[in-house]
């Protein structure tokens, strides 16, 4: 059963459709990259997928239940969050721990598992030793990391990341791809990532979903290429 399914979705802005014929399916536990040239509404596609936008036409369905039996948990790492720049007062630890705030847990005390998962997420992105610093003091790349950590701390069923490797140096990128691969292989989570550098990441991927522009100028989805076994590993 597909975790995410989009059927004949149409969407646009100001009455002009920018996405048409969007048909795709993503299965549980897959590591999927979404790609396409700049301006190809990739972010819009992600937002439609997560239910932040309602399509003009077509159907979008998300699995209603997550792995633990509870509601499907989505960890979203957007491209930029402006709140970082406006002096939001918070320590990194507090910030990542907020990933654990789910609807059922608003009032109960933070338990051992919460702290454990927070610590794990922070260590996985290499920010544990800086956990008491204010988030406003961080560099751009570090801000990215803690956003990823916050999504990880949630123990998400679906991880959605929008160009997470922008500005990352080479070693960090590969470390990141490894981390994402672990998410799917060890934890059975689904990872959907908008990215550009396909050559680097395709050895890790299960599938590539590509947006292409048709003759009439609108973006269509999606050439879906399966990656398993089709590329030779290009790891360093």
């Amino acid at each position: 059963m597909a975790l995410v399914a989009m059927e004949q979705v149409v969407f646009g802005y100001d009455d002009v459709p920018s996405l048409e014929d969007v048909n795709l399916e993503i299965g549980a536990g897959e590591f999927v990259a979404v790609t396409g040239p700049n301006g190809a509404s990739k972010t819009t596609l992600l937002r439609l997928m997560m239910g932040l936008l309602a399509p003009w036409k077509g159907k979008i369905s998300l699995a209603s239940r997550g792995k633990g039996g509870g509601k499907l948990k989505i960890g979203y790492v957007p491209q930029q969050i402006s709140a970082f720049n406006s002096g939001f007062p918070s320590s990194i630890l507090e910030f990542v721990r907020s990933g654990r705030y789910t609807k059922g847990s608003w009032l109960r005390k933070m338990n051992a598992r919460d702290h454990e998962q927070t610590e794990l997420a922070l260590k996985q992105v290499g920010m544990w030793h800086l956990r008491h610093r204010k988030i406003g003091e961080l560099s751009g790349g570090q801000k990215q990391r803690i956003c990823i950590a916050r999504a990880l701390a949630m123990e998400p069923d679906l991880l959605v990341l929008d160009e997470p490797t922008t500005g990352m140096d080479r070693d960090s990128r590969f470390g990141f791809y490894e981390l994402m691969k672990t998410q799917t292989e060890q934890y059975g989570r689904t990872v959907v990532m908008v990215t550009h550098g396909l050559d680097e990441v395709s050895p890790y991927l299960d599938r590539i979903v590509e947006l292409e522009r048709k003759e009439d100028g609108k973006w269509r989805c999606c050439t879906t290429t399966s990656c398993r076994g089709h590329f030779s590993p290009a790891r360093s």
């Binding site: 939001f88 007062p89 260590k123």
Partner: protein
């Protein structure tokens, strides 16, 4: 602490504390949501609601409340649907609210609460209803902020990721707006428009800069807000300054000093790093995909302990500042006490508080030397623009008799109930006289005028006010009733003589119409068969509409009038016989002019 012996000060401290805590916490969220102007805007909207309520004879507090909530919800919807217009929507609603409020208040022709009292409120004259409402709203707000603190954190940081984590952001945002509206609407009648904004913005601005965690930001903000309000109240008591403005200035001072200290600390840290000392590298470690064994402690004890110590320090600081300033207040009060009942053992003189100059004059005449009459509104100040300071409230609390005209002292009702004292005699000198609308009052647009309070300017009616005051003084001090009777009789005789002079002078006057700056002489005009043509309405700060101006100018031209009379309210030495002299001079000037022109 002498200051806190007074009922009204206790209420002020309690109301102030509630508002400070709730508004400062709210402020942190509003600042981070980039909605700093929200409180200001909602206060103005609430003002329109209150004005509408008064005009429609509904409960103004409730209408103000309802409109503030509607305004908050409206802004929320605009913000959601038209992201580009969200800042403009605040300006639109604020201008709309304030202008509507002024126009609606103008429709109420009677002399009502002055505008400036809405700016800074009357925290030393909180009545029970306002206090109970504020208490209820505070409890509700506290429940909301405590129970919803985690989702509020997520939503305040970023709404999109909050939504995808399963948070019902739309509902929460709406609830937040409603709570904001309620807090502002409940606080505004107590502390006024400007102070509500100050409490929402200033403590939060400093707290956000200083705090290293979100919870600490809220705690700091509440500490600064509470410290500011209590210090402000204490300072206002000590130095006899208007409480609202004093609090606002202290909050501002706290912000500026805090920012200065923080800058200083940063500079010191930079100096240290330049010397190569002690700067931990802020470099991240590599991504690590391996699964770690859990070394986590059950709770991050360090952070919690740190926060608790900050909380304690902040509370102590707030308390210390308040006590220091209250100590000043005590010194000041002692001086005042020494002036009051001086002779130990000798009979204490009757203490009379009089609202503004005419009341002071009447009361002093009736009392002779047998009472200590104190003037509350200083000469040269419009009585209904004036706001009592804590010292004035203290005076009122200790007075045996309070003499006021009624209506013109917009603060009197609140002050009387707040400075509650069972055995004080409150004399509303003009009660019952002003219910009929004097025929002299011109309302060119035929709108019904409200009750005219200018009873003391008519020699005939003034006599009845003096009688009322005599009765009040006698009730409070029966032993001297005979003396008061005699003094009153003597003064009334003078007034009768003045009345006779007016009649003889004005009787033969050919022109019966006179122009005044505002409709102060309605009763006098009616008494002597004259026609008053006022430029403004019953209150000197009611601006004439263009139509009213045009009509007055037309009358003046058609009648050939060349003199406009205005009350010298701006005289610095408004004591002594000036008032009587003014009245006599006005009368003589009129009669002189008329006899000269002989028309």
């Amino acid at each position: 602490m002498e200051m806190l012996h007074y009922d009204f000060m206790q209420r002020a401290f309690l109301a102030g504390a509630l508002i400070a805590l709730v508004a400062s916490a709210l402020g942190v969220y509003l600042m981070l949501r980039r909605q700093a102007l929200m409180a200001d805007m909602l206060s103005h909207v609430s003002l329109a609601g209150i004005a509408a309520g008064a005009y429609l004879h509904w409960n103004p507090t409730l209408t103000g409340f309802a409109i503030a909530i509607v305004g908050a919800v409206a802004v929320e919807y605009v913000r959601r649907s038209y992201k580009t217009y969200s800042e403009i929507s605040v300006a639109i609603i604020m201008v709309g609210g304030l202008s509507s409020a002024v126009i609606i208040m103008n429709l109420n022709q009677s002399v009502n609460k002055s505008f400036s009292s809405y700016l800074f409120g009357s925290v030393v004259a909180v009545n029970r209803t306002e206090l109970i409402l504020m208490l209820a709203v505070s409890v509700l707000a506290a429940l909301f902020f405590i129970l919803m603190r985690r989702p509020l954190y997520q939503m305040t940081f970023d709404e999109d990721t909050a939504k995808t984590s399963g948070l019902p952001v739309n509902w929460l945002s709406l609830a937040f707006s409603v709570v904001t509206g309620m807090i502002v609407a409940a606080a505004m009648p107590i502390v006024g428009v400007l102070l509500v904004s100050s409490l929402v913005v200033l403590p939060a601005a400093l707290a956000i800069r200083l705090a290293s965690s979100f919870s600490m930001a809220i705690v700091f903000s509440m500490a600064f807000g509470l410290g500011g309000v209590w210090s402000g109240l204490s300072a206002s008591y000590a130095f006899s300054t208007p409480p609202g403005a004093t609090i606002a200035l202290i909050l501002l001072a706290i912000l500026l000093v805090g920012i200065g200290l923080k800058k200083g600390a940063l500079r010191a840290a930079k100096r240290k790093s330049r010397l190569g000392q002690n700067v931990a590298a802020a470099e991240e470690a590599p991504y690590e995909a391996a699964r770690f064994s859990s070394t986590a402690r059950v709770a991050d004890k360090g952070g919690v302990a740190r926060m608790k110590s900050y909380l304690a320090k902040a509370a102590l600081a707030a308390l210390a500042v308040s006590m220091a300033l209250a100590g000043c207040g005590q010194g000041g009060a002692k001086k005042g006490d020494a002036n009051a009942g001086t002779d130990a053992g000798a009979q204490r003189k009757l203490q009379v508080a009089a609202s503004f100059y005419p009341m002071y004059e009447f009361a002093s005449q009736v009392a002779g030397g047998l009472a200590e009459v104190t003037l509350m509104v200083p000469g040269g100040v419009e009585p209904h623009d004036w706001e009592p300071t804590p010292k004035d409230m203290a005076l009122l609390s200790k007075a045996d008799v309070f003499v006021y005209n009624g209506i013109v002292e917009s603060w009197a009702g609140q002050a009387i109930s707040s400075a509650g004292r069972g055995d004080r005699v409150d004399v509303e000198a003009s009660a019952g006289f002003e219910t009929d609308v004097p025929g002299g009052e011109q309302a060119p647009d035929g709108k019904p005028a409200g009750a005219d309070p200018h009873v003391w300017l008519s020699p005939a009616l003034a006599q009845r006010e003096v009688e009322r005051i005599r009765d009040g003084l006698s009730k409070a001090d029966p032993a001297h009733a005979a003396d008061f009777e005699a003094n009153a009789e003597a003064y009334i005789a003078k007034l009768r003589q003045l009345d006779a002079e007016f009649r003889t002078a004005l009787g033969p006057a050919k022109r019966k119409t006179f122009v005044t700056q505002h409709a102060a002489f309605g009763y006098l005009a009616r008494e002597y068969g004259l026609t008053q043509l006022p430029i403004s309405g019953l209150s000197p700060d009611q601006e004439p509409t263009p139509a009213q101006m045009a009509s007055v100018v037309k009358e003046i031209q058609s009648l050939g009038i060349s003199t406009i009379f205005f009350r010298g309210a701006g005289r610095p030495e408004g004591r002594g016989d000036d008032r009587e002299r003014d009245r006599r001079e006005d009368g003589r000037a009129r009669s002189d002019r008329r006899s000269d022109e002989g028309r």
